[in-house]
């Protein structure tokens, strides 16, 4: 519904603008706004959704601008063809550098992309094919299928049709599992990997897509300006992208469109007031203010307003439902996990040293040991978050120690984290749906499965809430539901009871038993000995990175070495 209102408003405004505000000046603003919006719509997906701070978007605008200028002026190409060639070139360039550049995060990514842009500026200035500092002049008017657009009004509608097409692409991504995956990446890359999301792939895709759209932005702008030189798309233009997306709103594709209009409108206003120099200060201050005080931006503000006027449903009061064991059908065979000679050192510290044990299919195995024994490191080694120095990990006979975390998750190994890792920017249901990422199904089908997982853990009524609105114990259940949505055959739980009260711990124990009954092998790290002794049919004890003992709980607790290292102390402390 909200989406229909937004599309309707967009169409009405875009169609009516040049008819209401007549004259070449407002028309020019409309065209420039459209050109910028073509670029910022793509940038929302990269900066707003995935939180990748790329600071060199204007570099890709340069690629498009020069492609159009050089091909149309010097080689008399058709403008539309030149635009497409420019976009393809920008996407190829983005693709070529995306792999390594997107491994960089935050500030480093910003610096690397800025460096790329500044290199392109230098090349544009120094090279002869670009026309050097003077640039290339005399671009023809844009043409469609060889027919030149004689009026600026026609060009305006062409530009905004392209914007509409980009918005439709953006909305399609937004509504798909990819849109959700991008937001998951922004919140926690670690957790996104555990849900089987290939973070590298989606970052590259969005980087390449936003580069292509930025290039189209460049082409569209220079066909209006009729000239291209190295200063057209300078550092300030990259900043326009960032300000537009942040002020417009990071959360939706519409933020890019609205932001482009706000940025262009503000600039024209300042020119009208004869204060053009103030542009930087005001844009920068707006960016800072929005980030500090209202992170959802202008469109977020509108959305909140709409929700309030529409009255929205009040969230259900009772968040906890009776756990519904029947919600999830028992699966196929549980999996077996075999570790042999697993080692990992950090500098001189041997965090895990030559550890080998088996987790029998269908068992509940507990990994115990004092703090610093290497339990969490071992989890990270099994799940691919840390590389092994030596040893092997076999999952149902398949070696997995060379695989990436998301590949391991996609094999059906679910995990939870000692420090809760939920996606705070997604609803509870969407958090769980991220766990469905490896199943390329219709969204409706995935939604039903995710709801079933929530019902199974007893959170049927919480799906529309933000995870932060839940009690801590319930947040743990959300994480469990996300791992269950993956349909794991092996589930790794890292201290699932930490932070829970007695009643919650009891419910957790029951939940673990019900999960095992689904046909899921469970390996858990836990400190709560009562929980471990009541649940586990197999114990592995670690101490100082080495395996101390391994066997049935009653045998292990009688071993002198174990009592010395761990159980004895624990029981004395409890006494």
């Amino acid at each position: 519904m909200k989406r229909r209102v937004a599309i309707g408003a967009f169409l009405v405004l875009a169609l009516a603008y040049p008819l209401v505000l007549r004259g070449s000046y407002p028309l020019g603003i409309g065209i420039i706004t459209g050109a910028l919006a073509a670029g910022t719509v793509g940038f929302v997906l990269l900066l707003g959704y995935a939180h990748q701070l790329a600071l060199g978007q204007a570099g890709f605008c340069m690629v498009g601008g020069y492609a159009s200028a050089i091909l149309c002026v010097q080689h008399k190409w058709d403008p539309l063809l030149a635009l497409v060639v420019g976009a393809v070139a920008a996407m190829l360039l983005a693709w070529a550098i995306a792999g390594p550049i997107l491994k960089l995060r935050g500030f480093v990514l910003a610096m690397a992309s800025l460096a790329l842009h500044l290199i392109l500026v230098v090349v544009a200035l120094e090279a002869s094919f670009t026309g050097g500092a003077l640039g290339t002049y005399g671009l023809p008017k844009f043409a469609l299928l060889g027919v030149p657009l004689s009026s600026d009004l026609a060009y305006y509608y062409v530009v905004w049709t392209i914007v509409l097409a980009f918005v439709v692409i953006g909305l399609a991504i937004d509504g798909s599992r990819i849109g959700r995956a991008l937001k998951a990446i922004a919140a926690s890359e670690t957790a996104a990997l555990s849900a089987g999301i290939d973070i590298r792939r989606y970052k590259v895709q969005m980087f390449v897509l936003s580069a292509g759209m930025a290039s189209v932005c460049g082409s569209l702008a220079v066909h209006y300006l009729r000239a291209m030189d190295p200063n057209v798309f300078g550092f300030a233009f990259s900043l326009n992208f960032i300000t537009a997306v942040i002020v417009g709103g990071l959360e939706t594709v519409w933020g890019g469109v609205v932001g482009a209009a706000l940025v262009t409108g503000l600039r024209e206003l300042l020119r009208g007031l004869s204060l053009p120099l103030w542009e930087g200060v005001i844009m920068g201050a707006l960016t800072v203010l929005v980030l500090i005080a209202f992170r959802r931006g202008f469109v977020g503000f509108l959305a909140a307003l709409y929700d309030r006027m529409a009255g929205g449903e009040a969230p259900a009061r009772v968040l906890v439902s009776e756990p519904d064991t029947a919600a999830l059908a028992p699966r196929g065979k549980p999996a077996e996990l075999v570790l042999a000679g697993v080692s990992r050192a950090f500098g001189n510290l041997r965090a895990v040293s030559n550890v080998g044990f088996s987790v029998a299919a269908g068992s509940i195995t507990a990994l115990i040991g004092p703090n610093g024994a290497g339990k969490t490191t071992l989890f990270n080694l099994v799940c691919g978050y840390e590389p092994l120095d030596a040893g092997s990990v076999s999952y149902d006979g398949q070696r997995i120690e060379q695989r990436l975390p998301n590949q391991i998750a996609a094999l059906g190994i679910g995990r939870t984290f000692q420090n809760l890792q939920l996606f705070g920017n997604l609803s509870v249901l969407d958090n769980v749906m991220c766990g469905r990422h490896r199943f390329v199904e219709r969204e409706a089908a995935n939604r039903e499965r995710a709801r079933a997982a929530l019902a199974f853990v007893g959170l049927r009524n919480a799906e529309a809430l933000a995870p932060g609105a839940l009690a801590f114990g319930h947040q743990r259940l959300v994480e469990m539901a996300r791992a269950l949505a993956l349909e794991p055959r092996l589930l790794l739980l890292d201290e699932p009871a930490s932070g829970l009260n007695d009643a919650e711990t009891e419910r957790l124990a029951e939940l673990v038993l019900r999960i095992a009954a689904l046909g899921v092998t469970v390996l858990l790290v836990e400190h709560d000995m009562r929980l471990v002794m009541g649940l586990a049919d197999h114990l592995v004890v670690m101490h100082h990175g080495e395996k101390l003992a391994d066997g049935a709980p009653d045998d292990v607790r009688r071993e002198p070495a174990v009592i010395d290292a761990y159980l004895g102390i624990e029981e004395h402390a409890a006494a």
């Binding site: 920068g284 800072v288 992170r295």
Partner: protein, 293 residues
């Protein structure tokens, strides 16, 4: 290779390298204490230059102009921290980093409005004379740059090694969380470090202005080149950061002299980009949760 040409390129490279080194040091100090890499670091160099030059042009004595520019850097650094970072301490890295970017834009804009588009110049502190070393001719001001940088570095290192606050900064560099648990007042320390970084960058900006002029849009280049130094030291080692900053200055000078002055920036940034791409993914700093592969 002609020795005098080599020296003629090396020494000016070291002069600008001093500025990059101080910027790099500011990056390292701020990043370790606050967890935020401050995008506005280079802008303080620019501000030092334009403020110092215009104070002098207004008839202030040289020493007062230098002191005024340095104090302005300290004040603005502290203001940036209080007004824009303290309120969002708990926010995700992405938000904090982007805020420092916004602040950089504001500082550039303020400089543009207050001091205008044209580059500002300043006479050399002890005249505009030149001196000769091994066949190379250098402005006397170079000595001021080297001397001021050396004095600043010495002061920073004395501070780090021999004061309580300095020890706390070093503790934060090793483990910020643990340092806080041991009673380090991170709020006060963060403010101090931002003021210090602002002041040293601004001072560097003033002393280098007689050689390179001060321009409102020079901040990005200072920031980006200083950043190279910081990243060579992995945002941990101040010494490597310094060496990296000096090295970038020399590289830039050689690129201009031996290759092409037009392409010198492209070469420096190309080296930065190649280095980042080659080492991609292994940087551990800021609050980013990093995977090891």
């Amino acid at each position: 290779m002609d020795l005098s040409v080599f020296v003629q390129l090396l020494l000016p490279g070291l002069t600008t390298g001093c500025v990059y080194a101080l910027v790099a040091l500011g990056f390292v100090l701020c990043a370790n204490v606050s967890g935020v890499v401050n995008f506005a670091q280079g802008e303080y160099v620019m501000l030092g230059g334009v403020i110092g030059a215009s104070l002098l042009a207004q008839g202030m004595p040289l020493a007062a102009a230098i002191a005024g520019a340095t104090a302005a850097g300290a004040l603005l650094g502290a203001l940036q921290e209080r007004l824009t970072l303290a309120p969002v301490r708990a926010a995700p890295d992405f938000i904090q980093i982007t805020i420092t970017l916004g602040v950089a834009v504001v500082l550039r804009g303020v400089a543009l409005i207050a001091f205008g588009k044209d580059p500002l110049s300043m006479p050399g502190f002890s005249g505009d004379g030149v001196f000769e070393v091994a066949g190379a001719v250098l402005p006397v001001q170079s000595l001021w740059v080297w001397g001021a940088s050396a004095a600043l570095l010495a002061a920073v290192f004395l501070f780090l090694m021999h004061s309580d606050a300095g020890r706390a900064v070093r503790a934060c560099a090793i483990n910020r969380q643990a340092a806080r648990l041991m009673g380090v007042d991170a709020e006060r320390l963060t403010l101090l470090v931002f003021a210090l970084a602002g002041a040293s960058a601004a001072l560097a900006g003033v002393v280098v202005t007689p050689i390179v002029l001060a321009n409102w849009d020079a901040g990005i280049a200072y920031g980006l080149k200083g950043f190279v130094g910081a990243i060579l030291g992995n945002f941990r080692s101040p010494v490597v950061a310094l060496a990296g900053g000096l090295g970038i200055g020399v590289l830039e000078s050689f690129a201009a002299g031996y290759v092409s002055s037009g392409y010198k920036d492209a070469i420096v940034y190309g080296v930065l980009l190649a280095y980042l791409l080659a080492r991609g993914g292994v940087f551990v700093f800021g609050r980013a949760a990093l995977l090891s592969r």
